[in-house]
Each structure stands twice: as C-alpha cells, then as structure tokens.
Amino acid sequence: MDQLFALAVTVPLAVAAGICAVRPFFDRRRWLLDLAAIVTAASVVVMLAFIMVRVRGGDQVYWFAGFRPSHGVAIGIDFEAGSLSAGLATVGAVLVTAAMTFSWRYFERVATYYHALMLIFLAGMTGFCLTGDIFDLFVWFELMGVAAYALTAYRPEERGPLQGALNFAMSNSIGAYFSLSGIALIYGGSGALNMAQIGAWASRHPSSRLVVVAFLLILAGLLVKAAILPFHFWLADAHAVAPTPVCVLFSGVMVELGLYGIARVYWSMFSGGLGHQQGLSRLLLAVGVATGVVGALFCFRERHLKRLLAFSTISHSGILLAGIGLLTPLGLTGAAVYIIGHALVKGALFLCAGIVLHRLGTVDEVRLHGQGRPLRVTGLVFIVASLGLAGMPPAATFLAEGWFDEAAPGWALAIALACAVVTSGAVLRAGLGVFYGLGDPPFEDPRQAQEAAEETGETETGRHRTPLTMIVPAAMLAGAAIAVGCLGFTGLGTAVQAAAVRFQDQRAYIATVLHGARVSHPVALYPPGPADVSPVAVATGLALAAGSVAFALLTLYRRRLRLPIRRWPRATAIAEGFQSGVINDYVAWLVLGLACLGGLIALIVR
C-alpha cells in the first residue's frame, strides 16, 4: 500500500510519456486519448483517496529508493503525507479529472501534447503536495510551472495567450530562482535538504540571519505563485487567456498550492527557528488583507468574465493567506476548508465561462448582457456557484467562516467579509446580467472592450449546443461543493481541525520523518473551537450571500435607482498603470516587494 505514494506521481508521468511515444496512433482515435487521460486522472484521485484514509491516524513517510534516515540524518528523498497535504492533492486531482472531461474533444489540433501536459501538471501538483524534501519541492514546483506556461500559451494563434504566458513564465521563474537561492542558503548552513532535518537544525539556531533570509527567499517563489500583493500582476494576464479547462486548475488549485507551500515551509522548517509568532502573524495578516482588498477592487471594475474570475481569485488568495497567517490551528482549519470549497465553486464558475465562450463566442460582460438566456442549466450552475463563492450555506465555503469568525481579529474579519461581498457581488452581477438580463450592462470601457474582444472562441465546431461533457463536470463541481458543505454537519470540521493541529506540530513532524515515530493527536486535547457547524457560520454565510445579492442588484440597477455611482477615470488610469502588462514593471515591483517584506521580517525577528 505504501507504494501508492510513488504511484500517485509516477503513473501520470508514465502515461504522459506513453501517449507521446505512440502519438500517431491516437490521430484517428481521439476518444481513446481522452479516455486514457481521464482514467489516469481519476485513478490518481482514487490513489490519493486511499492515502487520505491511510494517514487518518497519523502522518506517513515514504522513502524513495529505500534510503531511510539514520541518526536523524536523511540521505534520500521522502514523501510525507498528512491529511492536509493529501487532501489538497486530491482536490487538485479532482479538478484535473473535471477539466479533462470538460475538454473531451475540445481542442481539435495537437491534442496529444495537451493531454500529456495536463498529466504532467497533475504529477507536479501531487509531488509538490507530498514531498518532504525542500529541493524536491522546488523540482515539482518548476515542473508544474513549465507545464503551466506551455498550457497558458496553448492557443498561439491569439495575441493574449503569448503575452500572458510570457509574463507568467518570467515572474514565476524569477520567483523560483529566489526560492532556489533560499534553498541553497539554508543548505549552506544546515547541510540538509530534508525539511524535517532543516527544521531541527533551525530550531537549534533560532533567529539566526541565515534562517531569516532563507525563509523570505524561499517564500518568494511561493508568494508569486500565490499571487500575493505585489507579486500578483501576472495572474490576471495568464488566467484570462489560458484555455478554460486550464484556468480551472490555475485558479482552483495552483494558486492555493502556493499558499500551501508557504504553510508547509513555515511549519516544517521555520516555525521553531523563527519564533516571534505574533509579529509574523500580524505581517502576514496585513499583506493578506491588502491583497484581498486590491483583488476585490480590480474584480469589481472588470467586465471580461475570465479576468473577473481571475481577480476574485487574487482576492480570495489574500484572504486565505490572512487565514493561514493567523498561525493558529483555527486559522489553518478555516483556510483548508475554504480552499476545498473555493476550488470546487471556482472550477464550476470557470467551466461555465468556458461554456459561454463556446456557445456565444465572447466573454465580454457588456456584449453578453442578456444573451445567455437560452443557456438555462449553465446559468443555474453559475448562479449557484457564485452564491457558493459568497459563502452561502450549504456550500463548503460557508464552513470556513465559522473558523475565521473564531480566530481572526475583528478589523481583519470585517475587511475580509467586505471583500467577499464585493467579489461575489461582482461575479453575481455578471451572472444575473448575462444569464437573466437583469438591470443595465456595466459601463463601457474601451480598453477592456478591446481585451475582451481578443478572446474569441476556443472551439471550432458544435457551437449550437452545449455538450454533456461540458455541463456535467460544471454541475458536478458545484454539487460537490454542496456535498462537502453537508459533510460539515457530520464532523468534517473536527477532522480538518485535527489535521491542522497535526500539520502545525513541528516536533511531531520531525519525529515522524526522521525517527519513524507514529504520532497521533487526540483532537480533544487541543484549543477549543467550533467542532461542528456553528450557528454563527450559518448566519454569516446567509448574511454574506444576501449582501452579495444586494450588492449585485445595486450595481445592476444603479441607473434606475439613480445611485451616485460613476466612473472614476483617474482611478482607472492609476489601476491600469499598475496592471500594465509590461513585464519590466512586474519585476520592479517584485524586487521592491521582496525588499520591503525582507526588511519587515528582519525587524520583527531580530
């Protein structure tokens, strides 16, 4: 059974190589190719589900090539699976399966590479989640990155995808090289690459210069991936232009993997060595909330459907960072639950946007206004998913609110809730406008109109109807979000909290990895929290959903209600100045952002 750890990564890789080896064979057997890829992705879901069951009682470790550590020193590479890491990998695999189903006969040309790249991306995600070795983490991070760059530029006939892929690849590569420098730095001090071993070393050298600087440098690549202010610029450019099934993965899980990486790196390597939890927590909270606000504002003024969803991802990523940045089990629990729910509903939303693009050939909210009426099922799924995004019970996202309510300081919570109302209100506005023709279309904006016009259909045939393979995955994802939410009434929250407590216990992690100990955490011993669904969570969820609907209706009917909402050309110009699409700007901001973060962390820790 242990072998599942290795198989979950290597089977998709082997299949990817296999389908490329016999590429001409698939030329006339497209269905076989699609089927092979879907079956592989689904089998990874099953393997990861088995792993989740296996690690319920305590984390498990797998040593590649059989090189076990002796005397607390590791010479091989290990996979370390806990409930959170295996769970996130499962979410990723589910989304890949849904995306592969959605893209059944989606691309007419050079299809084999698409399938191979998606499977490689899947393997990269799984490896990234499970690995317990910091350099191995970097390798899977890069593998995921390279596959993602290539997938972003999948339609080189268009202009946007190239621009988006270039900015994406440049920003992420620079971030990754900083991460690698950090890895080299910590290796130079500790002489170890195993995260547990580094953690043990760092705890013996608390707050040393090396630990502080290596922490920030390693974080750099992950912050870029997680699209945290001011490293977020690439995201909208890339997410808006990638093929829809790829967007599902980018927004649903790739960004969250960056956040997971931050949590993994912090708790397995640095939590003992850095100390100063309060100060660090305040910093992460501030950065996260700021990202949430900026993402929400950009989301609100956007009218290109996919860009709108992309900015909402930035906003949610910020809120999630704030949740993780509380550095408490409750905050992490909330973030983990939210990631599951968000991945499912965001996936559904992107798939709906893809269906709109397939049927109507555009993603411009203004031009689409009222045009989506014939797409009844799609409209329904879209509205349900956007209510889920707002956190309406029983979608899984609402569960998170209970934990955040409990854990976060009041000011941060208030801002986070406001961000949620604005982003989901903007998504709802788009949904109600496009599918039901409510109110008036948003303001005209020549630049955005041009951007949206660039995005023409991805599909070449069959525009007159929505194939089942498109709508079913979207509906399934939305349904899964609700199903997971219902699990919340049967103790999901308790299980996740236990997982979070375990995830944050660095000593137990080190003992598990380096000394083969089997540590089990009785949940009851840990800080009291809402074990099951609290009335507060339900109330907050309902209030958020109501607020979002009200906000959406207000913006849709602003003219008839004579609301004093108008365009602010100056604000628009400033916003566009930041989101300029020029990679030089992005790199300049990246460097400045890293310098500021570095200075602050150094001040806090030393």
């Binding site: 890069e142 390279v146 080299a184 730095l185 041009q450 990679i583 460097v591």
Partner: protein
C-alpha cells in the same frame, strides 16, 4: 575569501534583474534571466566548497580523501536542465509573439494587446 564569492552572487542577481527591468527587447530579457539563474549555480557550488577538497570522484583517489560536497553538484546539474528547458520555452514564446505583434519590445507588446 570568506564572503567574497557570495558578494559576487548578489552582484550577478542584481545586474541580471537590472537587465530585465530596463530591457526593451524580449530576447535580451531572456538572456538576462539566464544571468539571474546563473547566480544560483555559483551560490550552490559556493556553499558546498571545502578548502583543499578535490572533486568527488573516487576512480583514482583513496576513499577517505577530502572532497567537496557532491550533493550541491547534483543540484546544480538539475538546475542547468531547468535553465535550458525554461529558456527554450521562453524563446518559443518570443518567436510566436514576434509573429503576432511584429515587435519584441515588452512595452509595445503590452500596449498592442489592448
């Protein structure tokens, strides 16, 4: 000699990033990215160096010879592959972008896109 090689590392990163920020040509930016990455090789091999150590090949030296760290060399090798892969992919983007836009100036690319 204690920190001197690492000063060079910082210089290489800084000059490479400076090139990316000020460049008006995508291919040049990609070349600067290669420079940024090359700093990581120097850093990796620098932290693994041992005064008086020889290369870790025991073909014709006794087993207990003082050798430099072989692990960082393996990591640097991986790093070189990553560099080659990313560079090749970026160059193909640049070629295709040039076909679509007729320019490789990032500023113009951004304004042409809309």
């Amino acid at each position: 000699m204690q920190i001197f090689p690492f000063i060079i590392v910082v210089w290489i990163v800084a000059i490479g990033l400076y090139g990316i920020v000020t460049s008006r040509h995508l291919v040049h930016q990609i070349i600067c990215l290669i420079v940024v990455q090359s700093s990581t090789y120097v850093l990796l091999l620098g932290v693994g160096y041992l005064n008086g150590g020889t290369a870790p090949y025991f073909f014709d030296i006794p087993l207990h010879t003082r050798v430099v760290d072989p692990v960082v060399q393996a990591l640097a090798l991986t790093d070189v592959v990553v560099e080659a892969a990313v560079t090749a992919l970026l160059l193909s983007f640049a070629i295709q972008a040039h076909k679509r836009f007729g320019t490789l100036d990032p500023q113009e690319l951004a304004s042409l896109r809309g």
